[in-house]
């Protein structure tokens, strides 16, 4: 019997949610068969079975969130399926072979030091004295109002109860499991309770709008996006700059190559690969932008790994084209198509989203002609390709022509560089974009 644990799906990811189980106990499991679908703060991914055999027990039910490393399920490996099944059967009754179960909630505070059991019943003072001592200790203000036992935490989580609204009847005003159960039995009021409690909180003095509203349930992905963007904005002083580029040549070239590409690859060839190729080449000349903050160091990377921001109905993800600097336009096109398709179908793997050194955001796809991107922390710069529009442009010699124009916006972490590098990068990128013919 082998235990499958929650993998670390992404840097800094500490937990994951089981979206669905794709195998049920007793199902045959081939190597790399998907066992379940996991959503983490970073990716939603199917967990390929590391073992071959028969699906054993499911240890974490659908919808539950557990820490990285927690046991998710067991697989009875095929080479030894019969023996282990037998051994497990013996173990269950005989007491051997119990593995640790899931530990979804980390033990934070030591729950009971103050009320820990005395070494034994007999060593204590006489019973009456002990009982009154216990009663006495209950009267003392030990601020246990905000200590929640594992059972209380679980119930609150399962039923979305704001524990601040539950009256505690336990020692020191502690909210007991029974208190939560009683509150639950009184009816479904957790949502109704929320506005009154937030309205009663005069912390900022800002008046809270009255009137009906609904609480938006945050998915792990949403929470992570919020966390990362907040961090980027809080930590990185960001500067913004924009250039305009004439990409008539690039558009023409795409026009010449797209039919052949569609025939060969079965996907559309967009402008983004041309743009990305130019970004890669420019980064080679301005390596200061191809960098990350790691362990309090600013690390300039030799490999150019470009993150492509993809907005999907599941939230923003930034899959990474590893070694993008070594790819041709066609190679980049294929990579972008593949990653984007997998982002939309939630099929990204851990390695698909980890380790980018620079990010390209195709804001033009929404029709935007100027935007202020937020640096994808811990990277130090992000560039957008805005919408390509035809405009009359004054050319050299004061001739006016209709050209395909694009705005390119750059946000950068001012701690990592100054306008000199950033401006140089953007100017060089402009030259490259305009050099397509």
């Amino acid at each position: 019997m082998t235990t499958v644990t929650m993998p670390q799906l992404g840097e800094s990811v500490t937990e994951g949610t089981i979206l669905s189980w794709l195998k049920q106990p007793g199902d045959p499991v081939a190597l790399d068969d998907s066992l379940c679908e996991i959503e983490t703060e970073k990716v939603t991914a199917e967990l390929p079975s590391p073992y071959e055999g028969v699906m054993g027990e499911i240890l974490v039910p659908q919808g539950e969130t557990v820490e990285v490393g927690a046991a998710l399920c067991t697989v009875i490996e095929s080479a030894t399926a019969a023996t282990t099944a037998r051994a497990a059967a013996v173990g269950a009754r005989a007491g051997g072979g119990w593995s640790g179960g899931p530990m979804a909630i980390p033990p934070d505070e030591a729950p009971a030091q103050q009320l820990a059991a005395p070494p034994n019943g007999a060593v204590k003072a006489p019973v009456a004295a002990a009982a009154s001592a216990a009663a006495g200790s209950r009267r003392q203000p030990d601020s246990r109002e905000r200590f929640y036992s594992p059972a209380v935490m679980r119930l609150a989580h399962e039923h979305s109860i704001d524990l601040a609204t539950v009256q505690g009847s336990g020692v020191g005003g502690r909210v007991t499991r029974k208190d939560v159960e009683t509150a639950l039995a009184r009816g479904p009021q957790p949502l109704a309770a929320t506005p009154s409690s937030s309205a009663a909180r005069p912390a900022t003095g800002v008046p809270v709008p009255v009137g009906p509203y609904e609480v938006v349930a945050l998915t792990p992905t949403r929470r992570t996006i919020a966390e990362n963007l907040k961090r980027s904005n809080l930590e990185a002083p960001q500067a913004w700059t924009m250039v305009e580029a004439d990409v008539t040549g690039m558009v023409a070239r795409r026009g010449r190559e797209k039919d052949q590409f569609a025939r060969n690859e079965g996907t559309d060839l967009t402008l983004l690969p041309y743009f990305t190729a130019a970004v890669c080449e420019t980064l080679r000349d301005f390596p200061m932008l191809n960098a990350r903050w790691e362990s309090d160091e600013l690390r300039r990377y030799h490999s150019i790994d470009i993150g492509i921001a993809v907005a999907s109905e599941h939230g923003l993800v930034v899959p990474v084209i590893h070694g993008a600097g070594d790819l041709s336009v066609a190679g980049l096109a294929k990579q972008i198509a593949d990653l984007s398709q997998r982002a939309h179908t939630r099929k990204l793997r851990l390695e698909d989203i980890a380790g980018g050194t620079f990010t390209v955001n195709n804001t033009g796809s929404f029709g935007s002609i100027a935007s202020k991107p937020i640096v994808n922390y811990p990277q130090v710069a992000i560039v957008t390709m805005e919408r390509v529009v035809k405009r009359p442009v004054v050319l050299e010699g004061d001739a006016i022509a209709i050209r395909s124009m694009v705005n390119v916006c750059l946000s950068f972490d001012h701690r990592a560089m100054d306008g000199y590098e950033a401006g140089g990068f953007l100017a060089a990128l402009k030259r490259r974009l305009e050099a397509y013919a």
Binding site: T83, T84, R86, A88, V90
Partner: protein, 342 residues
């Protein structure tokens, strides 16, 4: 094992004196030799790094084979100790199985890789499983004797140990109980001179282990354990007597541990070289060959042929056993309890 040799005339008068038939004598030599050659091969495998541990019975083959041959194989019980390869061979264990046991292979019938080598046991062959804790088997044998007596089954149990084990409480509790209830148990002590490094004088205040029987009113004897024929001649009447309700018997076979205690032991630290040389002259195999050749029981060619046959068998056993499957790691979890019907 089929033999192709041509038989030569024998001195039947001498055979009658031995109380052993010609076939039995051949068997005796074959089993003693097989035990020795297996032990030699096992030690070689240990030195090659193929077997982690060897504990052998070199020097005790006559004591083991002679005693086991006095029992009814298939009927009587054997509760041996770890040096008793010779006894187990007489009780039906094959050379290949002995090698499986050495290597802890999956199909070792003794313990399937769960015990150290030389911890014998086979319910089918009526060999009682034993541990590394010495002398516990004396009580198991006594229990089997009690059960047989309650069931009125005409069987005998032979249990064996080294002389070092006779200091343990279980030895005395077993002799005491078996004597009180007149149980059909042969307590057989192979006094090989050493309990690891401790010589006899450090183990007991008596000259003979057999003297311990007096405290329990048990009949006892001391026999030359280097002489398989003498061993048989001593044990056989005791077995017959026990089978007929005569009660237990304590027999001490004076033999000698020609090798160190185990593959991990260096006996030069405690054993006088001269003593070893003296006893090597009385090697039970040399002794047996000399005696049957002198008495004209077997011509040299016949004995040589047995040698050849045994060597072939041992070579095959080692080669075959090394190819056999190891236990699966998860096999460690099974058989903690006996399930009804399993």
């Amino acid at each position: 094992m089929t033999s192709t040799r041509t038989r030569r005339p024998r001195s039947h008068q001498t055979i009658d004196e031995y109380l052993l038939s010609e076939t039995q004598l051949e068997d005796m030599y074959y089993h003693m030799l097989l035990a020795r050659r297996l032990n030699e091969r096992m030690l070689a495998l240990n030195r090659q790094g193929r077997a982690p541990f060897v504990i052998a019975g070199a020097g005790q083959e006559a004591a083991q084979v002679g005693a086991a041959m006095a029992l009814k194989v298939g009927t009587d019980y054997l509760a041996p100790y770890y040096r008793d390869l010779g006894m187990n061979l007489v009780f039906g264990m094959t050379a290949r199985e002995a090698m499986l046991n050495l290597l802890g292979k999956r199909d070792d019938p003794n313990s399937h890789g769960r015990q150290m080598p030389s911890h014998w046991g086979s319910t089918e062959r009526k060999i009682v499983t034993q541990s590394s804790v010495v002398t516990t088997q004396f009580l198991h044998a006594t229990g089997i004797g009690l059960a047989a007596k309650l069931r009125k089954d005409p069987i005998v149990v032979l249990t064996s140990c080294g002389e070092g084990s006779t200091s343990k409480g279980d030895f005395h509790e077993a002799l005491n109980f078996a004597a009180i209830h007149k149980l059909p148990v042969i307590f057989y002590v192979e006094n090989n001179g050493y309990a690891i490094s401790e010589s006899n004088e450090k183990e007991m205040p008596l000259k003979h282990v057999s003297d311990r029987a007096r405290g329990y009113a048990i009949q006892s004897a001391t026999v030359d354990g280097m002489d398989g024929i003498a061993v048989y001649q001593t044990v056989r009447p005791a077995v017959d007597q026990a089978r007929n309700g005569g009660g237990p018997f304590l027999i001490e076979a004076r033999c000698y541990r020609l090798w160190p205690h185990s593959s991990d032991d260096d006996d030069s630290r405690y054993r006088p070289k001269k003593e070893l040389e003296e006893w090597t002259k009385k090697d039970p195999l040399t002794l047996f060959r000399g005696r049957v050749e002198t008495d004209g029981i077997f011509p040299r060619e016949d004995l040589d042929e047995i040698e050849h046959r045994v060597e072939e068998e041992v070579r095959d056993a080692a080669q075959w056993a090394m190819m056999q499957p190891d236990p699966a790691p998860e096999d460690a979890l099974g058989h903690v309890y006996k399930e009804l019907g399993s």
